[in-house]
């Protein structure tokens, strides 16, 4: 009987235990949600924007309005904006140039020495090691070192950097003239083309063009000269702003929540490697940070809309033709103006800096018109997004000024020294990473400045320059008052509509402005002999760091 009782008790306990375990089991979907939220936050802390985004994306599939998922998405998108900016910097820096070891450089120099290729590789025996890798990408450098003969070097790695010979230049420019591409003063004249050609085209490109029966190739040929910026513009146009609506919608949702949901993240920063930039935003995220995020995204939209509206199909080889060696102010200015001149007047890369339009033969007139209209819309969007950006900055300032939350531990918060949860006059908002600080009055002024600019860009209202000057003074930037005075003097107006060039864009894009810059550089170059020493251009000279190559 006793045994029976024990067995019954054991069964009851077992049943209870099983029931308990059953109750402890979490819904798998719920578990997946928490996994994604946790992993997403982890990825954010490690700065892995893509992974973080995808985790929060999966989380949103399970719980579309989960505040953590929305916050995570917004913060991921912000990181992605910085990644994209970093990508832009990489693009502007050109393709990746190999970083060889000293031994590899020595090996390369030996090859150049054996084949007497100093001139072709734009270096010398003395500067070979310092100049290494002679602007070669990894595979090109590999080709150089592995080349069995001198001809193999010339036809392999060399063709990417060897300047077009004068003979080829003459043939090339005559061909361009024959095909109607020499159109001075928009482009170089035939003679200017022949003179400047070695500094605009490398053998890789001109050789390809000439080998293809150059007299039959028209301006629409894209097979020989690199038009890679167009591809970047298309990619940016399609992808760069894909997540902007998401950030705006999700942040609006979070801003409209009755009970504010704050998101905490232990480590989080906006950063870039080159140029080095870091803004630590660890801590609690609330309304001001949401506005900051919206402002950042609109700023990115400004850049993208503007960048894709202009014809930036430029001769990037022109950038590589100058090594800035032994720079002085005069040499620098000479180089700069020549580079700009090549960019503006290259007969192959015609229409540089004008409004972007379809440029290939296969484009019909309707397509061209549509592309121009698209570029015009991008310009208008540039202006509008500029306005939205200012609007969000104004809202951020307002939110900060009215923030009565505990400030300690906030990603963006004023120093509430007396813990009264109010921004007092003697308290500041410091952003040490950016070397910025705002007092309460300055924040008011900043808000006012942003509201004025937002009104201008969104509604097209003119900005009163005297008001602007007062705001700048209140912000502590009295020195910029001179710039305002200068603007008033140049335009002859007390009010300026900054949004005009965006709202009423011209087909000419920024080309007129670039032509002005070219003129300015020419003037500066002409006067460069009289520059005072404190300009310090000679400090740009880096020859001293060179270590000569010797056998």
């Amino acid at each position: 009987m006793k045994i029976m009782k024990t067995v019954i008790i054991a069964i009851v306990f077992a049943a209870l235990a099983l029931g308990l375990f059953a109750c402890m089991g979490e819904d798998p979907e719920e578990m997946a949600l928490h996994d994604h939220l946790r992993e997403g936050r982890r990825s954010l802390m490690y700065g892995d924007a893509g992974q973080a985004y995808n985790h929060f994306y999966e989380a949103r599939k399970i719980a579309p309005l989960h505040p953590q998922a929305l916050w995570g998405t917004i913060l991921s998108n912000d990181l992605l904006v910085w990644r994209a900016i970093s990508g832009m910097v990489d693009l502007l820096g050109g393709p990746y140039i190999y970083s060889p070891s000293r031994e590899e450089c020595f090996e390369g120099c030996q090859k150049l020495d054996t084949c007497d290729l100093w001139e072709e590789f734009r270096t010398s025996k003395e500067h070979c090691i310092a100049d290494c890798p002679w602007k070669l990408q990894p595979y090109m450098f590999e080709e150089l070192v592995a080349a069995p003969t001198c001809d193999a070097i010339r036809e392999g790695a060399g063709q990417w950097i060897v300047r077009t010979t004068p003979e080829h230049c003459r043939m090339l420019c005559e061909s361009l003239d024959y095909n109607g591409l020499i159109q001075p003063p928009e482009t170089y004249s035939l003679q200017e083309c022949i003179i400047n050609c070695p500094f605009m085209y490398v053998e890789k490109h001109s050789g390809c063009y000439l080998n293809r029966g150059y007299m039959t190739i028209n301006r629409f040929d894209r097979t020989c000269f690199e038009h890679s910026v167009l591809g970047v513009q298309i990619l940016e146009d399609n992808f760069a702003l894909r997540r902007l609506p998401e950030t705006i919608d999700f942040s609006r949702f979070l801003l409209d929540l009755e009970d504010e949901y704050q998101y905490y993240i232990k480590y989080y920063k906006w950063d870039m490697k080159e140029p080095a930039f870091e803004w630590n935003l660890d801590g609690r995220f609330s309304r001001p940070e949401l506005y900051l995020s919206r402002a950042l995204n609109y700023a990115w939209a400004v850049f993208i809309h503007f960048a894709v509206s202009q014809n930036l199909d430029l001769n990037t080889v022109a950038f590589d033709q100058y090594t800035w060696q032994g720079s002085t102010c005069k040499i620098m200015l000479w180089d700069l103006r020549k580079v700009l001149s090549h960019l503006l007047h290259d007969p192959i890369f015609i229409d540089a800096f004008r409004l972007k339009r379809e440029k290939w033969t296969e484009a019909t007139q309707a397509q061209i018109d549509a592309s121009v209209e698209r570029s015009l819309n991008h310009m208008r969007s540039t202006g509008l997004n500029m306005g939205y950006m200012f609007q969000e900055f104004a809202m951020m300032s307002k939110a900060l000024l009215g923030d009565t939350d505990r400030q300690h531990g906030k990603a963006l918060g004023y120093s509430d020294n007396n813990w009264n949860y109010r921004w007092d006059e003697d308290e500041v908002l410091e952003i040490p990473d950016l070397d910025l600080s705002f007092t309460k009055s300055q924040m008011f002024a900043f808000q006012e400045f942003c509201e004025v600019m937002a009104d201008c860009f969104i509604n097209g209202n003119e900005v009163d320059m005297q008001d602007l000057k007062l705001i700048l003074e209140a912000l502590g930037y009295e020195e910029y008052g001179i710039a305002v005075d200068l603007l008033i003097m140049v335009t002859g107006k007390d009010t300026i509509n900054f949004s005009y060039p965006f709202m009423h864009p011209s087909d000419e894009g920024i080309r007129p402005l670039m032509l002005e810059v070219e003129e300015l550089l020419n003037t500066l170059y002409d006067q460069s002999d009289s520059y005072p020493d404190f300009f310090g251009c000679d400090e740009l000279d880096y020859w001293e760091s060179y270590q000569p190559y010797t056998e």
Binding site: L230, L235, R242
Partner: protein, 468 residues
Amino acid sequence: MPKFMSVFCLSLILVLVLGIGVAYSQEEGGEDKTPADSESASDETPLTESEEVAPEDVPPEEVEKKDPPFGNYGKMIKHYEKVLMELPLWGMSSTIPEGFAVVGMGWQTRRPYKRFDQDRKMVDIVPIISVPDPFDQKGKFFEFDFGVSGNASGYGAGVMYGLTDHLTLSLDTYWAVLHVKIDPIYTPGTADKLGIVTLEDFYGMLEMLGRPRPVLQYDSDPADLGDTTFLAKWNNYRGDNVATAIQGGIIFPTAHQADPQQNIIFGLGPELDTGAGAWGAKGGAMIDFKMPAPADFVCISFMAEGAYFLSDKRDTPKFPPLEQDVKDYLASQGIDVDIFPDLTDTGDYYYYTPPPYFAATAGLSLGIVNIAYRHGFGGTAKYESDSEGFKALVDSIGLVGYGDDGKITVSTNVPLTPLFIPGLLSFNFEYATDGRNALVFRDVYTIGAGIGIPIDVPDRYKFKPEGE
């Protein structure tokens, strides 16, 4: 899949004989006949019921046997059992006796597992694509895992008929049941600098490079018809211990052809042709060696077979226009974009010639268990098109190259004659051992059933019910 019907039918013949033999020997006392006996039995005079059950050297108590059940039907089954047992039907070269037909059906399941690559290494069916970072040459640009999964099964059906004792005609086909799914995982690396962060973004980039977004799932509904093969097999020599045969036939283009917009060959989806889908000719030769008694249950067989196909006109898939500027940019960054040729000039159709193949099989039969090793060599399929881009596309995907594969097959068969059913059940297991550029399937099991039917049997085999 195309092979399994023939393997099944082959084993069906062999085992029908052997299985019946086993059943016969169990039930009738295990009479061991020599080929000479068999030949003497193959007389033009039909065997009578009394002759069948009263051999002179059998003890009287065993001669007094019970009649089989089911009346004349049971007697007929027993009669044909005996007829078949007495015929020298062994090895791969054996044929169906004159006037008999065999109708077979089978079901097979298999699971796509891996793939033998160019270097005969077993790798994932579709390897993860990892593109190196073009920006600072560290890490990756992105990674793309296709996540291919699925299963396949199939039904086969065939009929064989003995036109003479040494000439068999057969017709077989099959239906494939396919469930293939692609569940891709995109992991961005530095591609996020260009805003290509999610799978959707990645598809967007693919579209810019002239590729439609891939179809992610294919389910045959309910099954896709495979090739239909008509064969004539001639057992041209049959000695005591050696037998040979040759066969030849036509392959009809009945196989289901994948929708070009989701054909795996073009990297557009998971669908694939369930056979050659083109007219073809098939031939083969086989030789068997039967061990002398008492090891005469052991038979070693060799077979060589091959097929050649004619070209077939097919529809080309449609591709979105390529953004040449985007391609140029990616190429300038050192990304390999050769797999994205311009496909705007593909036209409406192309000509496809399925790869010819050759296979050699060595088999060992031990009673009702057969073990065989088959090595097949596939040629390169031909894609003829005026579009250079189209040819480059097919080459770059690389699923159509020369390849070979080897597999071991173990099969066994259960006769149904003890149950008075004139047929057998066949079980077959296949295991891929090695190969190059070939898919590897696992869990390849086949079960089949065959029924023998006397259609127009000559008098020497004919069953005469009592009283006739």
